[in-house]
Symmetry: C2
Subunit: 237 residues, 2 copies
DNA sequence: CTGTTGTGTGAACAGTGTTCTCGTGCCCGC
DNA sequence: GCGGGCACGAGAACACTGTTCACACAACAG
């Protein structure tokens, strides 16, 4: 039976990731240590190298895990909203952006690993991270795109944004729309990027503690921000 | 001559900080190592402890240095704008916020140390960092406050913001205004905080690389953002 | 049953921060 | 001017870290 070997291998691999994740949550990146993981599994440090390429590889695993869970949280919120009312895209966008922050404040260590300053001495391999890191933004952009197609986006807002958009940035947005095949004109993309910057910026500031001296607690403020963002997007229910 | 001893001490202290700063810029936080600094100064590692309380203390020093330089850059830009036209507060705010990002992208390592995810295993002592970390925000808020006193802030914008402000957050802003003695009502504080979140959020995303897949280059986009922020603040020239 | 392959061990090496003991040279006060 | 004291520096040691290696054992395949 070959399955037994593979199953055991998968089990210890999972245990390694679980242990590493626990240490990440409890002590930050510095706390995820091969020796600590080995102690948890009652195993020699060198044995870990049978399952993981080293500490960097372990961190990469935690990184994609964080990105994935973050994106999953956003997707779940959007899906739930759409299940309640498939036509209320404003509600879906709001739900997604609310979950964007919600997961982040609930998992500060993972969020810090994913979106904080690049971990010293460790460069995340782009081929494994970019695709998943972009998921939440893509989901929101997709919602906005279908709203635009359905005529739920105020054209005045879009044209107003067009007047403040320079040619270079517009060209970049057009390229982005073509690359991801979003049926959106550059000014609409700009609106979405504006919104995303505000949401991500707020989240970063809150999780990293830069918001604490300004606004506390932040829940009500963020809800107001969400309402204003939906309005700024020109989204009609 | 007692000055000789103190002078020499100050010199080596400066050399230590200079070396640490160089390593920070070249290799990130992980690169600033007591042994590397000792090698630079041609000194034993243990000798460093005569000047620095340990690596954490060294990082704290670099941290307050980063905060200070960042705030100095903002102040210099604001001062230069005010020297050109003391009455154009919108220009002064724009200059300050432009410098806020400018210094950050020019010094990514220091910025990451100051505003990135909390460095693993190291907690910055609040008593040494909070005061200086808050300087740029205070400066901008001060400009906005004098503009408000001079009647340069559109009252309609303020009242509009008031309608989206909940009581709890408003109370927090009032407390902030009282604590810092800003002559601003809560909705005006909210406007300034909104602006600051957008500026800092954008800067963080750019320095940490999360903006790259969306908008590149970012200069023109940021300039447009500044114009819109000034408009959203209700600031008249 | 034999051999290959997967798995685990322990030692070793090169780093790191931190602490200790021990000199030694210089400044300060007498 | 000249000891006494103290700041400074050196080096070893300890406890960590990641990584690699040679070796041993057990499980599976033929």
């Amino acid at each position: 039976m070959v399955a037994t070997r593979e199953r055991r291998r998968q089990e210890t691999t999972d245990a390694i990731l679980r242990s590493a994740r626990t240490h990440l949550e409890r002590a930050g990146v510095e706390g995820v240590t091969l020796r600590a993981v080995a102690r948890d599994l009652d195993i020699a440090v060198s044995a870990l190298y049978r399952y993981v390429d080293g500490r960097d590889d372990l961190l990469t695993e935690l990184l994609v895990e964080a990105f994935t869970e973050h994106a999953d949280a956003v997707d779940a919120a959007v899906d739930a909203s759409l299940a309640t009312d498939p036509d209320d895209l404003a509600a879906a966008v709001t739900a997604g952006l609310r979950a964007y922050r919600g997961w982040s404040v609930a998992h500060p260590a993972q969020f810090g690993l994913a979106f904080g300053a690049p971990v010293p001495g460790y460069h995340a391999p782009a081929d494994r991270t970019v695709a998943v890191a972009v998921r939440p933004g893509s989901r929101i952009m997709g919602l906005f795109a279908t709203a635009y197609e359905r005529g739920l986006v105020d054209e005045d807002v879009v044209t107003a944004r067009a007047s403040t958009l320079d040619d270079g940035t517009a060209a970049g947005f057009d390229a982005l729309a073509a690359r991801q095949s979003y049926p959106l004109p550059a000014p609409a993309i700009a609106l979405a990027v504006d919104a995303f910057v505000r949401v991500h910026g707020f989240t970063v500031m809150e999780v990293f503690g830069q918001l604490r001296p300004l606004v506390m607690p932040a829940d009500a403020y963020y809800e107001a921000l969400l309402r204003e963002i939906v309005a700024t997007l020109g989204l009609r229910a």
